[in-house]
């Protein structure tokens, strides 16, 4: 099976804040270096998606393109995801272990 050229995430119609959450979740699930194309029509996401994806360590590959009210972004998944990922489960520790530990 050949590897895909890129992955497409169609978020048209999704309202805030889900475009950002889905974008970060999708990028987190890719292998480093893979490309994700995100389409959104939420004006707040025009700002938030590139802001938050680049702050998480991913690379915006080109200026976003816009077609009417739909904006398209191309991201390259970063080597390492920075910051606490949204849906990363924190390691579960039983309550009696939480005290007296340094981490």
């Amino acid at each position: 099976m050949t590897t895909p050229d890129y992955y497409a995430l169609d978020l048209r119609g999704e309202s805030c804040p889900y475009p950002v959450i889905h974008t970060l979740e999708a990028l987190h699930g890719l292998m480093p270096g893979e490309i994700l194309q995100v389409q959104t029509d939420c004006p707040q996401a025009y700002r938030n998606i590139p802001d938050d994806a680049t702050a998480a360590g991913h690379e915006l590959m080109a200026d976003p393109s816009r077609e009417g009210a739909v904006m398209t972004f191309l991201f390259r998944r970063g080597e390492k995801v920075l910051g606490t990922h949204l849906t990363q489960d924190k390691p579960r520790r039983p309550w009696f272990r939480r005290f007296g530990t340094t981490s």
């Binding site: 119609g13 999704e14 970063g78």
Partner: protein, 411 residues
């Protein structure tokens, strides 16, 4: 590729207006509006009246409800009231802005659960807002500049409520699955926008503008100048909130979801501008600031409001401009707000909400209790504390951006 850096990101898309200056402008304008009309920029009071009109149309005698006798009176129709025109003109302004900028598009959520979420969140937010005598406007953005204690309590409670809300919306069962689709064929093409559609949108926008201008002139000519003022200010508010994407929900939510402080900082800036300008208005005009009860009802109202706006995806301002951008889920949230506000109005006397939660609460105003200068200084200090409280988030984000590239950030 154009790089536009800011203090919390290495890439910022240049769309619309920057939120910081827009928030500051909104702060100043809302103070001027208060100076002219003696009322604050607010919307949920009018939502409650709209709900009251609907219930009245269904046959109930709403004028007998304690809420409509004491809190928001139900005289005439929305177009007879400045509050009514503020809502109408805000919607019109946001619509004009969205149409002109090409941001209008009928958006149906791909996941139908969004409608239920918007309705539930809207009802909770509307209920909570009226319990606290206002939403992010009257109990926060225009409440804090009036030096009323209830607005500070409401803001803190809302922040907590949004924290709880974010925990909820991050759950997979709530937000739904993320499914990127692998693509095997060539590079993505991008067609130009549909020019006919754009022209049609702009025509509609022009008609709406003409309608507003006509109404404003007519009211001014017939001696009802305050309504003209409401139309003009409402329209400007509506345009600004859409172009600036002024969403109070996002200001709090971004802190918890992606640790982004940009909108939060812009909100603080706007509040500072509003506080100073309103203070000047009070000093020069010799007016009394407006105060509302501050007590357990404010806390519960704020918590519910914060939770509800996260569930619904938008607050009273955010929902209004999103509805005018064509986001159908926002329209459902709007309906939910009206329902929630009306339910609160019903329960005010019927369920004893007023008697148990609000009646014992004192009304406290810094300006009237401590004098003008202490009130101003304390308000600005509290805003500074708020800005300082999110500093760890701001710095951790700056640190992440700095380490992800070696590029120097704009301070």
């Amino acid at each position: 590729m154009s790089q536009f850096q800011s203090y919390d990101t290495m890439y910022r898309t240049r769309v619309g207006l920057a939120p910081g200056p827009v928030f500051a402008l909104l702060g100043v304008l809302s103070a001027v509006y208060f100076a002219i009309t003696g009322t604050v920029w607010a919307v949920t009071g009018e939502f409650t009246r709209l709900g009251g009109h609907v219930v009245e149309g269904l046959g109930a005698d709403v004028h007998a409800w304690q809420y409509y006798q004491e809190v928001t009176t139900l005289n005439g129709a929305p177009i007879d009231r400045t509050d009514g025109w503020i809502v109408i003109a805000m919607l019109a302004g946001s619509l004009i802005a969205a149409l002109y900028a090409g941001d209008f598009r009928l958006r149906l959520p791909p996941q139908k659960r969004r409608f239920a979420q918007a309705l539930a969140g809207g009802i909770i937010a509307g209920f909570g807002a009226r319990l606290a005598y206002g939403c992010n406007l009257a109990a926060m953005f225009t409440g804090i500049p009036q030096f009323s204690l209830h607005a500070w309590i409401f803001t803190a409670a809302t922040a907590l409520g949004t924290l709880a809300g974010v925990k909820l919306i991050k759950q997979r069962w709530w937000r739904g699955p993320t499914r990127p689709v692998p693509v095997y064929l060539g590079a993505p093409g991008s067609a130009a926008g549909n020019p006919k559609k754009k022209a049609a949108h702009r025509s509609v926008a022009s008609i709406v503008i003409l309608g507003l201008v006509a109404a404003a002139l007519a009211y001014a000519a017939t001696g009802r100048g305050m309504l003209s003022v409401a139309i003009v200010f409402g329209a400007v508010f509506g345009i600004l909130i859409q172009r600036g994407q002024i969403c109070f929900t996002a200001a709090f939510r971004d802190l918890w979801v992606t640790r982004k402080t940009k909108l939060n900082d812009a909100l603080i800036l706007g509040l500072a501008a509003a506080v100073i300008t309103t203070w000047l208005v009070l000093q020069i005009g010799g007016m009394d600031p407006l105060t509302k009860p501050a007590g357990i009802g404010t806390v519960i109202g704020g918590l519910l409001f914060g939770l509800g706006i996260i569930m619904a995806g938008a607050c009273e301002t955010g929902m209004m401009y999103r509805a005018m951008e064509g986001q159908t889920a926002a329209v459902v949230a709007f309906v939910g707000n009206i329902i929630g506000a009306t339910v609160l109005a019903y329960g005010w006397d019927t369920w004893g909400i007023y008697a148990t939660l609000v009646a014992p609460s004192p009304s406290f105003n810094f300006y009237q209790a401590w004098g003008p200068w202490p009130a101003l200084i304390i308000s600005l200090v509290l805003l500074g504390i708020w800005a300082g409280a999110v500093r760890p988030l701001r710095r951790s984000r700056q640190e992440r951006v700095r380490t992800s590239t070696e590029t120097e950030l704009v301070p």
